[in-house]
């Protein structure tokens, strides 16, 4: 039995996981059109390489980027590009970003270049990395960090962690994937192991998913029988169900006892952590040659008529997914992308499913969710619940005052916005709301201070330049004057020497 650690804080939450029956995955009809945002990942947006009117095939690259932290976008089905315009993306602010819109032709034809790789074991590591990069794979757990950027660490990796914890209530898409495609995940782990050479390799699953644990173990056993003896060193570990165990930092702490350095990345302590969905996508990119064009999405919630997991093409309008999943039970329905703890309330259900969309949660709009807010009584429940060991009650005061130095002192930037503090607050203070606000204010403040600093430097430089020019001008003037005087003096001398000349001029 492997030793496990605990992280501080966290909450035991009601899971509501059975609602979406993770043992079955349904498919959806091809939507009329797919909307593919150029930025579905952290980093630089991809640049379109197709034009309106162009015919595209499923899996064809339609936007790409040269930047290291970026990911390509692929057509998720065959059809015709009808526009490259700004379109609502699934974000709580309701912003629009540049998207490629494809009118589908219903044939779902693969791009002819995409062929399964019959001998994936013959690929060398650089080739594998290049293919992962070309496949547009990003972290499917929600962080959407381009995976290729994670797979070339600059130091020895001790532990490779495959995250199947899925700690948010309601969401079961990873559970569904682990039950329906365990072989893909395990093969993906073997590929990652080839890339990273870790000492230890763990698939971590919360203990509320015994079927998923069983499925992965069974797959490992099967592959072993097929002669891949090395699979037995993959350690499938059941971790306690405490929200947010699935958070990368928390899971790393639970499994290794190590902490990711403040403002740092896991590889700095010798760890790489990838989601199970990402792992399966990597396997498919290498074995099948298929880029990331679809993902599993849980449609669930008290207002969902047929809660279930669906395999959804990236770019499918969320409205279409909701319709296909049996509409909603009531009019006062809130559409949340993600789970109830960290998800985003979407103002537009016309926005598309993106690579980050793990769940569509249909909940009743509760206008009174945070009424009766009382003053903070400093009970400290929030700090006991904080998995980052912050002091939310202090942050709350300073967020209200907008005292940025204090917010920095109390480590506001380390807040992962997991929501635990808000949920336990007896005064019902929407703490995370304050923190998000303060973070954006802090960023604005930082930018404006930077701009102010730049303009101060520029003004000083300009003043110095003007001063210098003035001095130089004066120096020139003085020199000219001196020259003139000298000339004059010389002239006078000359005149003195040649009095006749003056007389002549006179």
């Amino acid at each position: 039995m492997k030793k496990l650690w605990t992280f501080k804080g966290g909450l035991k939450l009601a899971g509501f996981k059975k609602l979406s029956k993770p043992s079955v995955v349904k498919s959806l009809p091809i939507p009329k059109r797919v909307i593919l945002p150029l930025r579905q990942h952290i980093g630089e947006p991809a640049e379109p390489i197709v034009e309106a009117g162009e015919k595209v095939y499923k899996g064809q690259v339609i936007a790409t980027s040269k930047s290291f932290i970026s990911a390509s976008v692929h057509a998720s089905t065959s059809g015709t590009v009808i526009e490259i315009e700004k379109h609502n993306i699934p974000h709580q602010s309701g912003v629009s970003e540049l998207c490629i819109v494809i009118e589908t032709d219903g044939k779902d034809e693969w791009y002819p270049n995409i062929k399964p790789n019959l001998h994936p074991e013959n690929l060398d590591v650089d080739e594998i990395r290049a293919r992962i990069r070309e496949a547009g794979i990003v972290g499917l757990g929600g962080a959407v960090f381009p995976s290729a950027a994670k797979l070339k660490p600059t130091r020895q990796i001790d532990t490779l962690i495959i995250n199947g914890a899925e700690c948010e209530p309601y969401i079961t898409c990873d559970d569904a994937l682990m039950q329906s495609c365990p072989d893909e995940i395990v093969q993906g782990v073997l590929l990652l192991r080839k890339l990273l050479n870790p000492i230890e390799c763990i698939i971590a699953i919360e203990d509320n998913k015994p079927d998923a644990i069983e499925s992965i173990r069974h797959s490992i056993e099967k592959l072993r029988e097929q002669g891949q003896g090395s699979v037995t060193t993959i350690n499938v570990i059941a971790v306690p169900t405490i929200f947010p165990t699935g958070g990368e930092k928390q899971l790393i702490k639970v499994l290794t006892g190590k902490e990711v350095p403040k403002e740092g990345l896991p590889y700095e302590v010798g760890i790489v952590c990838l989601n199970v969905g990402t792992t399966a996508a990597i396997r498919n990119a290498i074995y099948q040659g298929t880029p990331l064009v679809s993902r599993y999405v849980t449609v669930t919630g008290p207002l969902a008529k047929q809660p279930a997991n669906y395999e959804v093409m990236i770019g499918t309008p969320i409205e279409d997914v909701i319709q296909a999943a049996g509409k909603v039970k009531a009019d006062n329905c809130a559409v949340i992308m993600g789970g109830p703890m960290m998800g985003q309330l979407l103002p537009h259900s016309q926005s598309p499913v993106v690579k980050a969309t793990n769940c569509i949660l249909l909940e009743e709009i509760k206008p009174d969710i945070n009424t009766n807010v009382m003053p903070c009584i400093r009970c400290g429940s929030c700090s006991s619940a904080c998995p980052m060991n912050l002091l939310p009650q202090q942050l709350y005061w300073h967020a209200r005052e907008k005292s940025f130095k204090k917010l920095e002192h109390y480590n506001l930037p380390d807040c992962i916005e997991c929501g635990c503090c808000s949920v336990v607050c007896p005064s019902k203070i929407p703490l995370v709301h304050y923190f998000r606000f303060a973070k954006s204010e802090m960023k604005d403040h930082e930018i404006s201070t930077k701009i102010a600093e730049q303009s101060r430097v520029r003004t000083q430089a300009r003043e110095a330049r003007l001063e210098r020019m003035k001095r130089e001008q004066e120096a020139r003037k003085a020199k000219r004057k001196a020259d003139r005087l000298k000339k004059k003096a010389a002239g006078k001398k000359a005149t003195k020497q040649k009095p006749g000349k003056e007389a002549l001029a006179g």
């Binding site: 902490e259 109830p340 309330l345 969710i369 009382m374 400093r378 400290g380 109390y410 949920v423």
Partner: protein
């Protein structure tokens, strides 16, 4: 920051399950065993105290909420004023005159609580601030503690207790002096200050089995309620543990150095307001430190100061002053004891 936060559109969408009223109510339940034992052993005067202080505290709370234009319904029934009232009434001797009780509740609710900004904003524990004012202003009335009831003697019923508090009249054939006696800490203080050592003081009716007669059982009642609060996670373990450790260690040291003039640790722990203070007063969230380490320092400070005031100061008990003094330290403690954030050690 917009103060209109009714239209929250960002996560978490899980509503908070707890409420200030529930927290406060639980604390009140936890006081019940101690209070019942107190009434059983010391008579109805205890209850009269609680009723008069609570009624007047609610009245002052209501007036202040109206004056300050705060939602009366929400704040009047958050139970915070009732807790302040109960703690204050337990700190005032039973059968105290009504004006003393009302003055105390005025000071706690109007001055110590609302003039500082109301619930959550007060710097000092309102009940202890009011107690300190009363003790300094009316030392005589504040030290006339009722004696434990004893078999055979006549005791006041609830109506007679009310009558005494309101009009200072006793049933015929009863003397007020007969109803009062020195508390154990009072007794020890008086005797030691005259230069006597413990062996010379010998036994007195103020002593019980463990500490002060009667009060020892009341303290155990509060201990029971306090442990329940710990179990319910309403209070954190750090403060009560630290208070009792601070008091226990310092009184043990004193006792070890010179048992002739320092009372034994058990008397310190179960006499006076130690247990009530450790579990119910020092743990008042608003005025206590909020960090784990801060809470430990805060608690040890209270424990030590309580011992110091009892042993060397001008008052028989020191819990209230200790809580107020350490309360002043809280902003400093909170600032310097902030826990290390995740990942700070690795960086």
């Amino acid at each position: 920051m917009p103060d209109n936060i009714s239209a929250i559109t960002s996560s978490p969408f899980v509503p908070s399950t707890d409420s200030v009223a529930r927290v406060m109510r639980t604390v009140i339940y936890a006081l019940v065993p101690g209070v019942l034992i107190y009434i059983a052993l010391f008579g109805w005067g205890v209850l009269v105290n609680i009723l008069i202080v609570t009624a007047s505290a609610l009245l002052f709370e209501w007036i202040m909420l109206l004056v300050r234009d705060r939602p009366v319904k929400v704040y009047l029934f958050d139970f915070s004023a009732i807790i302040t009232a109960i703690l204050l009434s337990l700190a005032i001797p039973p059968l105290a005159p009504w004006w003393l009780l009302v003055l105390g509740s005025f000071f706690s609710i109007v001055v110590a609580k609302h003039l500082y900004g109301g619930l959550g904003y007060n710097t000092f524990n309102p009940a202890m601030a009011a107690y300190a004012v009363l003790l300094i202003s009316f030392p005589l009335e504040m030290s006339m503690w009722t004696a434990p009831l004893s078999e055979g003697s006549h005791s006041l019923n609830i109506i007679e207790s009310f009558e005494y508090s309101l009009f200072q009249v006793l049933p015929i054939n009863m003397q007020y002096d007969a109803l009062t006696s020195a508390t154990v800490l009072d007794h020890i203080r008086t005797e030691v200050s005259t230069g006597k050592s413990f062996p010379e003081i010998g036994w007195s009716p103020a002593f019980g089995y463990l500490a002060g007669k009667g009060f020892e059982w009341v303290s155990l009642g509060f201990l029971l309620g306090g442990l329940w609060l710990l179990y319910k996670k309403i209070i954190s373990w750090q403060i009560p543990t630290a208070v009792l450790t601070g008091l226990g260690v310092s009184s043990l040291l004193g006792y070890a150095v010179n048992p002739d003039i320092y009372a034994n640790p058990l008397v310190h722990m179960l006499g006076g307001a130690s247990i009530l203070g450790a579990f119910f007063i020092a743990t008042d969230p608003v005025t206590a430190s909020t960090t784990p380490l801060g809470r430990i320092i805060y608690g040890i400070g209270i424990g030590f100061l309580t011992f110091a005031i009892r042993s060397w100061g001008g008052y028989p008990d020191g819990m209230a002053f200790a809580v107020l003094l350490m309360g002043m330290m809280v902003p400093l403690l909170d600032y310097y004891t902030a826990p290390k954030v995740y990942g700070a050690r690795t960086r």
